[in-house]
Symmetry: C2
Subunit: 318 residues, 2 copies
């Protein structure tokens, strides 16, 4: 969470004038996004999120990410629309950095979600999966099990052990996950990072799914497994309430029932999801100095979830 | 700029329910304030800034700071009002930290201000000085020249030289500033930190003066000198445009003409202002690891301004 670039009032006013959105009234740098700078912009007409793409995001992917928002938004998914400038462009450049103006959506991210909220998240996820099947672009998932296992191998057993003595066990588990990774599951464009931080809600209603910058082509059931792993556990890695997972899947299936092969694959998919977050967190941990002002996310949170999914198999989802 | 504390949606909704402000619609941590965490809060009724006092601010000072906002706001100064909770309290506690809900004001902070904007800032500053004379509380300035010189002495000549070889010269200059510090100038409550960051504007109009957490009892002309030093120079320490300072003082005097003794004191007061910012920046510089993600402010910016005021005397203000 950070604002990496200073944008002065005059820069912002000049930028906003390139869009048909009224005049600049207020701009606050907001503490969201780890690879972008973001501002909450108010104009005489409405509010917007201005995103500056700082790193990790390849500008060549912007047509995919920003086009996807428009596609999903056109299908009435709770997803912010990209605001196009007066020439129709979905993004512009300030100096050498790409920026996009995105619709502001109300809502707050729940930290202790209830089953009714999980159900709504399941519905919204299924809705985007169905709508995204009509999206004409594709994008490879560069954070699948083979890639994330390779990230962990590159970290090295010794470095992983420095984070936590139990962490290197992930390497052997990762081999198993890669070897038994299900293929040929029904695919669409998936969010692949739908943590509570990326969902805005008002009460039990999903008002916004945001931060699609890991979206890619992939198995829809994998996205459901990611969401299960991200929402249904507390800090200690034990499943908070069996009802949360049940409500998520029920909500999902109310719009898009899982096939038998998808249901069978869920335990493996969930372990693959854990591997992916263990890998990115371990890498970030090792890249971030211990005294930096950024809170490091503990990879062990997902090590415990991985163990839970291994131990409970299919019963983790019923 | 940071958000030091995580406040969940449920914590925020519970807090907002203690105020008669409608229901929570949105909350974004914003990258403002160095000693506080801040959120831009939207309710079904309006927008607000929620401030959590993290450090540097003594909770015993909150009646002064928050009462001052109400007093100035009652006098139609462009200052955000403190929102009181249903019991009438100006601040509450979450865990062991004080929080206050403050009116949101539109506007953006200029980075390359023009003379018309400086004039408006001068008017707004004079307006608050006059209005604050009726405020019944006082607060000692703990960042006057004796204290800030002591801070620099404590940093030590060697440490200052590590920041910049020319910086230790501030110690001898500081002795002179303390020795010739003007007394008995007309006093009020002063902002004492009115940098562009702390002023919101729409066009040439001041819509908000914010961040009164250094406000204290003091000479009004000192506050004008602080504002002059903060607004009228570019990065290189040379005065951007003589017109900026002239417009600031003209605006100020349109509401509150300076006395002869105040005008005579301006060069000394401005040097004292520079000493204060050199001291706090040098201390922050030495306290902040070079690889931290926080941008350190260079004390030399104000060393150059101090030299400018020494060299130009009264003509720096005409």
């Amino acid at each position: 969470m950070a604002v990496y670039t200073h944008l002065g009032a005059e820069d912002l006013a000049r930028l906003i004038a390139e869009y048909d959105v009224g005049e600049l009234v207020s701009a606050k740098g907001i503490a969201e996004g780890v690879s972008n700078s973001n501002w909450l912009i108010e104009t005489t007409r409405a509010r917007y999120i201005l995103t500056m793409y700082e790193r990790r995001i390849d500008p060549a992917d912007l047509p995919f990410f920003l086009g996807l928002l428009d596609h999903l938004s056109d299908a009435n998914c709770p997803v912010p629309r990209t605001i196009h400038d007066r020439s129709g462009a979905a993004w512009r450049k300030i100096d050498d950095k790409a920026v996009a103006l995105i619709e502001f959506l109300p809502g707050v991210s729940p930290t202790t979600p209830n089953p009714a909220q999980l159900r709504a998240v399941g519905v919204a996820l299924a809705q985007t999966h169905l709508a995204a099947q009509g999206f004409p672009m594709t994008r490879a998932n560069d954070l699948g099990p083979p890639q994330t296992l390779a990230m962990l191998v590159q970290c090295g057993r010794d470095a992983l052990a420095l984070i936590d003595p139990e962490l290197p066990a992930v390497l052997a588990l990762g081999d198993g996950i890669v070897a038994s990774w299900p293929s040929d599951l029904p695919a669409s464009i998936i969010h692949s990072d739908l943590f509570p931080d990326n969902v805005l809600m008002l009460g039990d209603r999903v008002t916004g799914m945001i931060d699609f910058y890991f979206a890619c082509s992939g198995a829809m059931a994998y996205d459901l497994a990611v969401t299960h792993a991200a929402w249904c556990f507390d800090q200690s890695g034990r499943r908070n309430y069996a009802e949360l997972g049940k409500a998520l899947i029920e909500g999902y299936e109310s719009l898009r029932p899982l096939s038998e092969s998808e249901r069978t694959a869920l335990p493996s998919l969930a372990q693959g999801a854990c591997l992916r977050f263990i890998a990115s967190r371990a890498q970030d941990w090792l890249d971030t100095p211990a005294d930096a002002l950024v809170r490091r996310k503990d990879p062990m949170d997902f090590m415990r979830r991985l163990e839970f999914y291994r131990a409970n198999g299919q019963s983790a989802f019923t």
